[in-house]
């Protein structure tokens, strides 16, 4: 689907591409690394793909200001490589970082496990440039870390799935690399115990960078977790600690003591490395699973939501950024009763009971996905549609893919 991609090398080129699309009334699909283009509904109409791959320069990196300005097509890996030279990072963990682009990550408002301790992606975008469906090149924010001049287009475009504007350049706030990091992991017998331990973590003096809850066959096969005795029915709790060496050592001791008091005998520890388990970062990206969904619920809703999924598929695998309430579920088989029934009948009510909603990340091609089942949940559509109509009156940008049609 889609004609061969055009690949602009400047924001002026992007403006020209939108102007052409306006003239021919051909919908446009901005493409970053193409890692999640399968997501959402596709429109039947001819779509022209617009690749941002050649807009991939570092525009300015005043490292001592701890900000960086880059073009939207730079990959997350390239960005990380640039930052690491100055002992800095953007603490946002993205699957397939060698392909995924900062523009795509912002367009999808992707957040990984460090969000618990470091904040979400939207907190790091301080300036943005984009081209809207009118062919207007516009900016929001700037290059300073504190700024309240004008409306916050950085936030508006974060998670807009490229439906309001094609992002061409962004300025990010960055953070120093921590001196040390360590993972602590253990298995927990049942859901009730898991909830107690999650709640306790929130009261603990320890301040984790990430709090992950895992379960299911995918994790049982994870070699790095073998010693935690993960079974079919229990849960794994993974905690990432980051900071100065003194802080990390103190937190490790303290948390082990707390866990021991809670009856955990032998927690597993991986010291000195931030990424012992790529599985945590890449979990959601497995398109070979028959069905992957993501729910956003309140933190106390994580275990009830997982229970609802297990009820439908006892063999599903779960990764939850449990401190934030983001739950990813890979089902082991495609639901017999049908996708819509599973989404709208079971999962959406289970998420809604905890103020949340659920979306399909991956379903097999040809599955009877409806707009409602992809985006299970209620959004204030009247306002969103009004905004969309102002920024893209001809509905050229990513037509039909987002919550509004």
């Amino acid at each position: 689907m889609g004609s061969p991609a055009t690949s602009p090398t400047s924001s002026t080129d992007v403006v020209a591409a939108v102007q052409r699309a306006r003239a021919s009334k051909t919908p446009l699909q901005p493409v970053g690394g193409g890692t999640s283009l399968h997501f959402g509904l596709q429109s039947a109409a001819t779509v022209e793909q617009l690749s941002l791959a050649q807009l991939n320069r570092v525009v300015d990196y005043p490292a001592r200001d701890m900000t960086i300005t880059v073009e939207a097509g730079i990959t997350m890996a390239q960005l990380a490589e640039t930052l690491v030279k100055e002992h800095q990072r953007l603490p946002v963990d993205v699957p397939q970082a060698d392909r995924a682009t900062i523009g795509g990550v912002i367009a999808t408002n992707w957040n990984g496990h460090r969000r618990y301790g470091q904040g979400s992606l939207r907190d790091f975008v301080i300036g943005i440039e984009a081209v809207d469906g009118n062919g207007l090149l516009f900016h929001g924010g700037g290059r300073v870390v504190k700024n309240v001049a004008g409306y916050d287009f950085c936030k508006l475009l974060c998670g807009s799935f490229g439906t309001l504007g094609i992002i061409t350049q962004v300025t990010l706030k960055v953070r120093p690399l921590p001196e040390r990091s360590a993972w602590l992991a253990c298995s927990v017998n049942d859901a009730k115990k898991a909830e107690t331990m999650l709640a306790a973590l929130q009261q603990s003096a320890v301040t984790p960078a990430a709090v992950e809850l895992v379960s299911g066959s995918v994790w049982q096969k994870e070699a790095a977790l073998a010693e935690t005795n993960l079974t079919k029915d229990n849960f794994g709790l993974l905690v990432l600690l980051e900071g100065t060496t003194t802080e990390v050592l103190w937190m490790k001791d303290h948390l082990r003591r707390e866990w021991r008091e809670a009856g955990i005998v032998n927690p597993l520890m991986q010291d000195g490395c931030a990424e012992p388990w790529p599985a945590v970062q890449e979990f959601s990206a497995h398109i070979d699973s028959p069905l992957t969904v993501q729910a956003s619920v309140t933190p106390s809703g994580v275990l009830p939501f997982v229970a609802a999924c297990r009820k439908r598929d006892p063999d599903c695998s779960v990764l939850a950024h449990a401190g934030n309430g983001a739950v990813f579920v890979r089902f082991a088989k495609f639901p017999d009763k049908g996708l819509s029934e599973l989404m709208m009948g079971d999962l959406q009510p289970a998420a809604a009971a905890h103020h949340g909603h659920v979306v399909i990340l991956n379903a097999p091609p040809g599955a009877a996905i409806t707009h409602r089942s992809v985006w299970g949940g209620e959004a204030p559509l009247a306002v969103m549609t009004a905004v969309k109509k102002k920024f893209d009156p001809l509905d050229l940008l990513n037509r039909g893919r987002f919550v509004y049609i």
Partner: protein, 485 residues
């Protein structure tokens, strides 16, 4: 953006009657003397009385008010405590002022899911007080927190001394319920993160009352740090102090707060509170790190060393909580002390990249000399947010003129450094003439598009934040005289 015709006297009488019936006569003010109180906020240069002031007690009241205003085509403007320093509450074209101070309940506090639900009229410090002893706090702490409301904080995206590490209001707001310009009630976001669809909460925060009237807010609660180390570094020159800031940030330390005060303001604080500051020092830095006790001494030592490397004369450490609070008192009361220095003053709110602080500091000194206006400085230095305070006597027209020129030149200099004209006070009516300098015509069209999506008729907070289509921003005649809170 459409301009709003001023309502006729008979329309206003009918509207006031209808409002009394709708929300109760005791919640409606129309007497001239009562209205005078609402003719301006903390920005006192431009004044205009509203025609009617109303005090809703529920979301339903706000809906009734907004619908009546729409029916009779009368503009309306929301107001919290009225501490805005940019004139956000100015009722341009008169009309109805909706004061939200009586919507002041804390509806829910949920520690497991780390959020609280509050009505917009809750005073910022009241939420802090309600959370005392729980191990949690609400992070945004504007210096006006004893008076300003959470609704006003959301509308202006307030910051404060601790925003360096903890972020501004938008980083702590999970959702809002609001009454749209046409009277529809909408909930954006809520207790869970990442609501479905566009991030309209993010776009709404900081919209300065132009996109809707907030009637409920879901705020995020933050764990209290285990400990603090607070210190005061004393410098012989402002250059050395700004250099130290750059060194600290450059070393990858993110303090909880990093505030700078220059000699001018120190003298005033000392006269008011006798803290025992050396009056010959040119600048001091108030630096606080917080977090795990285990890591704090190391960070403190590193900071002391970096300050010494930047030629600090002395670094004093707060020994205990009492000394810490004393240091903070001197910072938070800084504005209160200015009254001793001059009859009038005008605070600016520019931002520069942190590494440009030495440059902007020198520039301010030059501008002070050029216009013969005394300027003292309080900076949220860690964020690059500067608050130069221009001292003058408003009875002297020539001085007033010079203050205006000096203010403009300082803000222009911030823009030249790659910064912004406002870090926390907002555009309001005060800085509207700068919008065309900061943003391109296309940027402004995009902003107007967003406003029109929410507020198509334009009768909610008209003539604020965006220059009108004709480009005739307000012309400033007087600098602000800031009341000391």
């Amino acid at each position: 953006m459409q301009s709003i015709p001023s309502p006729s006297a008979s329309t206003l009488t009918r509207l006031a009657d209808a409002l009394r019936r709708a929300i109760g006569a005791e919640n409606v003010l129309t007497a001239r003397s009562d209205l005078m109180v609402y003719e301006c906020d903390g920005f006192v240069i431009e004044k205009n009385s509203p025609d009617v002031v109303v005090f809703p007690r529920s979301t339903a009241d706000v809906v009734k008010i907004v619908k009546l205003c729409n029916e009779m085509q009368v503009p309306f403007v929301p107001r919290g405590a009225g501490t805005s320093l940019a004139g956000g509450c100015l009722p341009i074209g008169g009309g109805v002022m909706i004061v939200l101070m009586r919507l002041n309940r804390i509806v829910e506090i949920n520690y497991r899911d780390r959020y609280a639900v509050v009505e917009p009229g809750v005073v910022n410090v009241h939420l802090t007080n309600a959370l005392k002893g729980s191990g949690y706090h609400y992070a945004p702490d504007p210096s006006s927190q004893g008076a300003c409301t959470i609704g006003g904080n959301v509308a202006t995206n307030s910051g404060g001394p601790h925003t360096l590490k903890y972020g501004v209001t938008v980083n702590h707001v999970l959702g809002v319920e609001m009454v749209m310009a046409d009277g529809a009630v909408v909930q954006l976001g809520g207790p869970a993160e990442d609501p479905l669809g566009l991030d309209l909460v993010g776009a709404f925060v900081g919209s300065e009352g132009t996109l809707g009237v907030v009637t409920k807010v879901w705020v995020r609660l933050t764990r209290n740090p285990q400990g603090w180390r607070t210190m005061l570094a004393i410098f012989e020159s402002c250059d050395d102090a700004t250099q130290a800031i750059s060194e600290i940030i450059g070393a990858g330390i993110v303090p909880a707060a990093l505030e700078m005060m220059d000699q001018g303001i120190l003298v005033a604080i000392e006269a008011a509170f006798s803290f025992g500051f050396p009056l010959d020092a040119q600048a001091i830095l108030l630096i606080e790190v917080d977090g795990l006790d285990a890591g704090l001494d190391q960070q403190r030592d590193q900071i002391v060393e970096l300050c010494k490397k930047s030629k600090a004369r002395e670094v004093r450490l707060a020994k205990d909580e009492k000394e810490r609070l004393k240091l903070w008192k001197c910072r938070k009361q800084a504005f209160g002390a200015i009254g001793r220095l001059s009859p009038s003053y005008c605070t600016q709110d520019g931002v520069v990249p942190r590494t440009q602080l030495p440059l902007i500091q020198r520039k301010i000194t030059e501008i002070s000399a050029k216009y013969d206006i005394k300027i003292v400085n309080v900076f949220h230095a860690g964020d690059g947010n500067i608050h130069p305070i221009l001292l003058f006597d408003e009875r002297d027209a020539a001085q007033v003129e010079r203050v205006l020129h000096a203010s403009n030149e300082i803000l222009e200099a911030c823009l030249d450094c790659g910064g912004s004209v406002t870090g926390e006070h907002g555009i309001g009516v005060e800085k509207i003439h700068f919008m065309q300098k900061m943003f391109s015509p296309d940027d402004l069209v995009a902003m107007d598009n967003l406003r029109q999506a929410f507020n198509p008729v334009g009768n909610l907070s008209p003539m604020k934040m965006l220059p009108t289509a004709g480009g005739c921003g307000m012309e400033q005649k007087h600098p602000g005289r800031r009341a000391a809170l």
